[in-house]
């Protein structure tokens, strides 16, 4: 409100009353604040890229390790080395993919990916 231009503008725009000008300015400020709030909210809800990567990666690797481990122990027990380990490695791989798909689904549910209409054209990403 300490803007030096303010009084001059209200004098020249004699037809617009002071209150309607104020209302317009309040509406504009509200709109600007909403946009800013939404922009700041998205990275907070989104768990940050590093975290997403760590989560998906560890889910995938853990399933493979567990699958191969189970197969190895079964082989030791049944003396069928290395066949069960190979089979369980494949099963672990499938379980890893399942884990990744599930956690990606959960992430998408928590933070819906932007649709084509919402997406702001971004020059940096295209280059």
């Amino acid at each position: 409100m300490t803007d030096p231009q303010e009084p001059k503008r209200s004098q020249t725009g004699a037809t617009t009353s002071l209150t309607s000008d104020l209302e317009a300015r309040i509406a504009r400020a509200n709109r600007e604040r909403e946009v800013a709030e939404q922009a700041s909210l998205v990275p907070a809800k989104d768990m940050s890229g590093w975290n997403r990567g760590m989560r998906l990666g560890s889910e995938f690797v853990a399933a493979i390790l567990v699958g191969a481990g189970i197969g190895y122990l079964l082989d030791l027990w049944l003396h069928t080395s290395p066949w069960l380990m190979l089979v369980m490695l494949m099963v672990g791989f499938a379980a890893g993919v399942l884990n990744v798909v599930r956690s990606a689904n959960e992430m998408n549910k928590a933070v819906p990916p932007p649709t084509a209409a919402q997406r702001v054209p971004d020059d940096e990403e295209d280059e």
């Binding site: 940050s48 889910e59 690797v61 853990a62 567990v66 379980a95």
Partner: protein, 250 residues
């Protein structure tokens, strides 16, 4: 450490005896910092909420915010029935958070940088989920391994996959926390070591040392973020797994 000028990024994870207890047992630095973690959490929460003022002061507000944060997390991912496990999730969250933050203090030991600690926590979650799942649902808990709407002839393939996927949970839960803290601390130490090494090379070395110094400062901030984030992730996934124990069908 024999040579104090040698940069050894792994040295910080060395377990040493602090108080020998006799009989081959002793209080190690890892155990000491876990005890300190629990003591700090307990003292803070008890002292800050002692007054129970209707209009909280700043200290009490932090406790209330932590409470509400975890309560919202549990109720949103495990529902109202999951609130039974709120004390469990809250304890885990606070322990991991404070232990991670302790690790960020110079000369303090990061207890969560050892996989045996994080694996013990993850195994605790895993056992709670299994025991409560069978207690609440009986044999219906096994429906967790049989997705609904799958034709019978695919089940021999799907059930082992679901089983392995279930068993991989404690591994991924513990490895994620441990790897984040371990990798973060090593990176920090390596870059800080560059500053020391370059600083010993005279004027040009001083100039060169500026780059890793800036990097170290940036990484310290990142590590604080990771420490808080990993505690959050640990707690969120715990409440999701508890949700599976309460409603064992996908």
């Amino acid at each position: 450490m024999a040579d104090p000028n040698k940069v050894d990024p792994i040295h910080q994870f060395l377990i040493t005896d602090v108080v020998p207890l006799g009989g081959g047992f002793s209080l190690t630095n890892s155990a000491l910092f876990m005890v300190l973690t629990v003591a700090v959490i307990g003292l803070y929460l008890i002292l800050s909420t002692q007054k129970r003022s209707l209009v909280p002061n700043r200290v009490q507000l932090v406790s209330e915010m932590l409470y509400e944060f975890v309560a919202n997390m549990v109720s949103s991912s495990a529902g109202k029935a999951g609130m039974k496990f709120f004390p469990f999730v809250f304890s885990l969250f606070m322990f991991v958070l404070v232990a991670n933050m302790f690790g960020m203090v110079p000369f303090f030991f990061a207890a969560t940088s050892h996989i045996i600690i994080t694996f013990a926590l993850a195994l605790l979650v895993f056992i709670v989920v299994i025991v409560y799942g069978f207690y609440k649902n009986g044999l219906k808990f096994l429906k967790l391994f049989v997705p609904s709407g799958v034709p019978g002839y695919v089940l021999p393939i799907v059930v082992p996959i679901e089983f392995v996927s279930f068993l991989s949970r404690p591994i991924s839960l513990s490895v994620r926390l441990f790897a984040n803290i371990l990798a973060g601390h090593i990176t920090l130490k390596v870059f800080a070591g560059f500053v020391v090494t370059l600083g010993g090379l005279g004027f040009l070395g001083w100039l060169g040392a500026l780059l890793p110094l800036v990097m170290t400062i940036a990484l310290t901030a990142l590590e604080f973020l990771v420490a808080a984030l990993q505690a959050y992730v640990f707690a969120v996934l715990t409440s999701m797994y508890i949700n599976d124990a309460i409603h064992p069908s996908h």
